[in-house]
């Protein structure tokens, strides 16, 4: 596989520094969606003493990037360091394979469409 899709779900306040760090690594595109969601804590605030009995959805952002496989380790490490605060809600990273990329305007495919 030459390229991979990386999806990051995180809180709303870390986008700017993450964007800067990924740009430095040569990541050329990014899609960000505002979302609602929760993880294993069911949306419980970290200071609360008891976990919510049912899921509470909190404002999050879903960041999607596609990167070449050769830089995936660096990208993941950068994302981890940029998002890390030690607090609950720092987020999760999902990495999945992509079978192809097509640039509509030119019809380029694969890595050519990514550059």
């Amino acid at each position: 596989m030459e390229f991979l899709k990386v999806e990051v779900i995180t809180s709303m306040d870390k986008l700017s520094s993450l964007k800067t760090a990924l740009s430095k690594l040569g990541v050329s595109g990014m899609t960000v969606l505002q979302a609602l969601g929760c993880g294993v804590q069911k949306g419980t605030f970290e200071y609360e003493a008891q976990q919510n009995p049912e899921m509470e959805l909190l404002p999050k952002q879903l960041i999607m990037i596609v990167v070449e496989e050769r830089i995936i380790d660096k990208v993941i490490e950068t994302i981890k360091k940029e998002l890390y605060t030690g607090h609950i809600g720092d987020g999760k990273i999902f990495v999945s394979p992509l079978s192809n990329i097509i640039r509509v305007r030119t019809g380029e495919e694969g890595l050519d469409a990514l550059k």
């Binding site: 700017s16 970290e46 030690g86």
Partner: protein, 479 residues
Amino acid sequence: MNEKKLGLPSAIATGVGLIVATSCLMSLGQGTSVLGTGFILSMALACAINILTALSMAELNALMPNLTGGLAQYTLAGMGPFITILTMVGGYLVCQAIAGSVESAMFGNAINSVFNTGIPSWVFSVAMVLLLIFANMRGVDIFAKIQDVVAFLLIGSLTVMGLIGTLGLGTGETVAQASNTAGSFSDIFGMLGLAFFLFIGCEFVIPISKSVKNERRNVPLGMVLSLVIILAMQILIVIGMTKYVSYEELGASASPHILYGNALLGSLGSYWMIFVSALAVISTVNSAMSSFSFMCAGMAKINLLPAFFLKKNKTEAYYVGILIIGGLEIAANIVGLSTSDSLTFMISVAIVFWMVSYIVSNINVVIFRIRMPKAPRTFKVPFGPVLPIVAAVGTAFMIWNIDGNPAVRNSIFLIDGIIFVILAVYSVIWCKVRVKKALFKPIPVPEVMAMENSLYLIAHKKIEIHDNKEETYYGLSKG
């Protein structure tokens, strides 16, 4: 949007300003009077070990960023509540109280060494402490604003004085005496404890890390460079002192910086030093008083100290902490801290606590490396666990060599031991009654991080009250 403003020079400036205090000059004078230039080797060793500890603290800060309680919170997550209360809450705060007392005693000594007022030195010290209590209680923080300027004035002055002495450019007469009086390594090791006092406090840089540009590089580098700059400045002073002041006078002086200033440049040197050091003392004691009250409040927030430390007066000052530290400083000065011997002794007693907290911090790094090997760290001490272990062992070695005289060393250990026993009893009781958690069970990092939130205590108290009510209700219905 980018709020980070401080660059590397500012990080160094803050580090240098926070580490240097006039009471360090006391240790410098004492060390030089015993070993001459041989004390430089003790200083270099102590500085090297402290650099390693500074790196460990930078890693802890990277793992648990932006915590107000500092070392206590790392230990809570690393070793559990008992060790935290024993070494960080009790030990560290006791140490702060003693260090603040020594610093305030230096004020009275400095005035009397120049003006010969005939009034006991402690009167000036107590008056200054009272004034600062009043200012802090009113929420007035005049000196904090000029702290960096004052620290630089002190450091700049000392560097210039050191250079004048080293180059032999002073107007006073030079003294004919051996520059190095250290005969063996054991002499040098015997002064490590005193030398350690010259380099403590780099952990105070950590709270400003969130406002430092490129903090993962600049915070550790700033701490290390601050320590190196201070070492360079102090080496100059030591060389200058060996040339211009006799070791007997130096050892007996409670204000060696003023003695040195006088020997170097006559009365001009004395007045220069008293002006700068008096400002520095007031500024340091003031900020120590304020930070003590904030630290106590921070520890009360994470349930390690009684909640009354969180009480604020009308001007939003944590007045309980201010009154306690102020009271302790006044008591220590009235009891008689003003002689150079007792000051050195008190410094030694205090720094054992400080050293223990540094050892615990280094061990925390190793614990977290084992427990959370994959957690992202924006700064990681190189060479695996080797450097933190070297730092912990080196600091333990400095404790063992806290004083060259075995009798004095034993008295220091005795006093520290008694205080540790008292703190251990408090720690066990507090863990059982208030914290209600196993003594040695670490608290998970996310929970320690959550404790930073001011709503944490409120939310957990509500549950406690709710649970108690349920228990009572259940008890009644059962009955």
